[in-house]
Symmetry: C3
Subunit: 274 residues, 3 copies
């Protein structure tokens, strides 16, 4: 794989995208991303996948304009691009886009296909397709509609204007704006917490959330079923016992629940090693 | 009932929760809340139920960890807790949580089960269950998904981090942040307006809103049906006549519609007494 | 038509509403709006319809209180009002409300029926119907529920309080707050961009958005179908060729995509004239 450099560390795969000269989403890149994402299906070690760009200006510019045409090859490549979006959305791992440059069109759609997205002051997000006589092709309009409501979505799609990271956060295009100077520390903290979870926990919450968005009652039923099953596990009892031993269910919780969790983890590590 | 002190005044029941030492949601408290909420079904005088805490630090800490296990009693208590959430959601009265302390896990779910929620600078909201090997069990994940969207919900559920009242307002966990120093006056004003409505009005709008969330067209149809029925009532005509007499449909409305409503109420009280 | 003055310019119809003394939504006005909106069905020149008010205080005060009653005429007029709302929502043109005054009840519902809404510091939005013993009758409660969520909607409908333009933007009642001093320039810029699109583009995005709100997967399928069809058009190829010629898919895009679009348009105009 030449356009993706992938490194692994403590359950986190970091995928750096490099497709010169302008990080356009070409067929080659689509094929590499699809191959990588599909390979994760049977990966038991990777919990989190972080997508970054090595380009100084672009996260991902957009879908290669050379495939947007009526040729058999063009139509097939466009469909592969669309599949890439649905493949990313279907990942069992937590997918995270870290955006420090421009993400328009398919680049914006790539970002929204990820579970979480963090972006800096160098980021820009847009769906300007309509000015090239086409609609969005990777769920851009779908996601805008569902994330910002009919009216703001329609305005954004007809204008095709750029949004800053702060605007994108307010409009739910991304999860959070993070200044570039704080991004590394922010990611270390957030991903450090999540990487300690079992991957089935990530999956469970993705599943409950997806069900709840479609049907509130169905989501509630699924959630309760998981709750009752999980309550029965020995692991749950071990954590709860240690948590209570270190101040759970007392006033210590009010101001120092993190401290209780730290002591709980230490207690559990001790029992495990002892 | 020993954990709930309930006072009644002008259609408003104020429920103060006191379950020492840390306002944990124990089986006893669940049973008392369920009994009280179910007793309201045939209550014709109570329009609004306000839930407060007497604890200096906690609104409600969370579900009692001693019932989160595989025992018959534990599973039954967890289900009763879940029923408490659905019972609160199904109340015909307007339910209002006033939060001046920590509300995590089941406490946060209790807050979201209420129709309205106001919180101070002392409040904290979180769903940290995943760090105890369980998902939320009282619709916490369901509500997060529907209120803040997939991405922000997933981040909040995997991190389990606290939110301030201002953050909780922005994420639709609560209705509004209100500084503690202004809370009493704020509640007197807001609940004073709502307590003057008939309880069927509260119910009608809850019903239209619930229908509209599921299906826009069905909500619109239900709304129009209610509108046409209500337009026929003598009460409607009496209010409209007094409203017009005092400046309704003139420029006075633009800057002083509240004054017209005050004059209208005085006019109606006079006719009623006269 | 005496209550609407309509001017046409470059694909934009500007409708100025003038119904003295207080821009109440009377049966006459409803009939004029309905006739105009239905006439647009076969209009091939008008892409955008802008609704403004000529009244110094009111955008639209609310539905005429004289039709809110149990008479046959009153009920028929109320239903016509409701149809006006659904007719506006069903327009193929882009509908835009420009609000520089009070819009309560039916006025607020008129604003929310439009695709886009911009409002100044003189605007006020409210659904105070419940204080006249009726619910909203033009999808006010439906729209509040879907735009601001159950809790904030219920509070707003039971209180009936005014919202400023900034608050209305945050609650998705309108698209954007624009200071009055900047409104003309803002509209010229925004509508200037949109008026250059074909009307089928506006329709296509309205359709994809409507489908996506109801069902994410159905929206995605529809979007992809449109994308593949549009990719085949000669117009698409001509724009893409000119776009690439002027720096598309290079680093120029990062900071100057607008410049590329300007050069692209000039190139296309040249070929067309040449």
């Amino acid at each position: 794989m030449s356009k993706l450099s992938i490194s692994h560390s403590e359950g986190i795969a970091t995928v750096s995208i490099n497709n010169p000269p302008s990080n356009v989403i070409t067929s080659d890149l689509i094929n590499e991303v699809n191959a990588f994402v599909l390979s994760l299906k049977y990966d038991r070690d990777t919990k989190i996948v972080v997508f970054k760009s090595l380009h100084p200006l672009f996260f991902l510019a957009h879908l290669d304009l050379h495939v947007i045409n009526g040729t058999t090859a063009g139509q097939a490549a466009s469909i592969e691009f669309n599949h890439m979006i649905t493949n990313i959305k279907a990942m069992k791992q937590l997918s995270v886009a870290v955006v420090d440059g421009v993400a328009r069109g398919g680049g914006d759609e790539f970002v929204m296909a990820c579970d979480l997205a963090y972006a800096t002051e160098n980021a820009a997000f847009a769906q300007p397709e309509i000015h090239v006589n086409i609609p969005t092709g990777g769920q851009g309009a779908v996601q805008y509609a569902r994330r910002m409501g009919k009216n703001k979505a329609l305005q954004a799609l007809l204008l095709g204007n750029d949004f800053t990271a702060q605007q994108a956060e307010a409009l739910n295009i991304i999860t959070q704006y993070v200044p570039k100077s704080e991004m590394d520390e922010f990611l270390a903290q957030v991903l450090g917490v999540i990487a300690q979870l079992e991957i089935r926990n990530i999956l469970m919450y993705k599943e409950i959330i997806a069900a709840s968005i479609i049907d509130e009652d169905a989501g509630a039923e699924l959630e309760l079923r998981y709750f009752l099953e999980r309550a029965k596990e020995n692991k749950t009892q071990a954590i709860i016992d240690a948590f209570i031993k270190h101040g759970g269910q007392t006033d210590r919780e009010a101001k120092d629940i993190q401290g209780i969790f730290v002591d709980t983890a230490a207690e559990l590590a001790k029992s495990f090693n002892g």
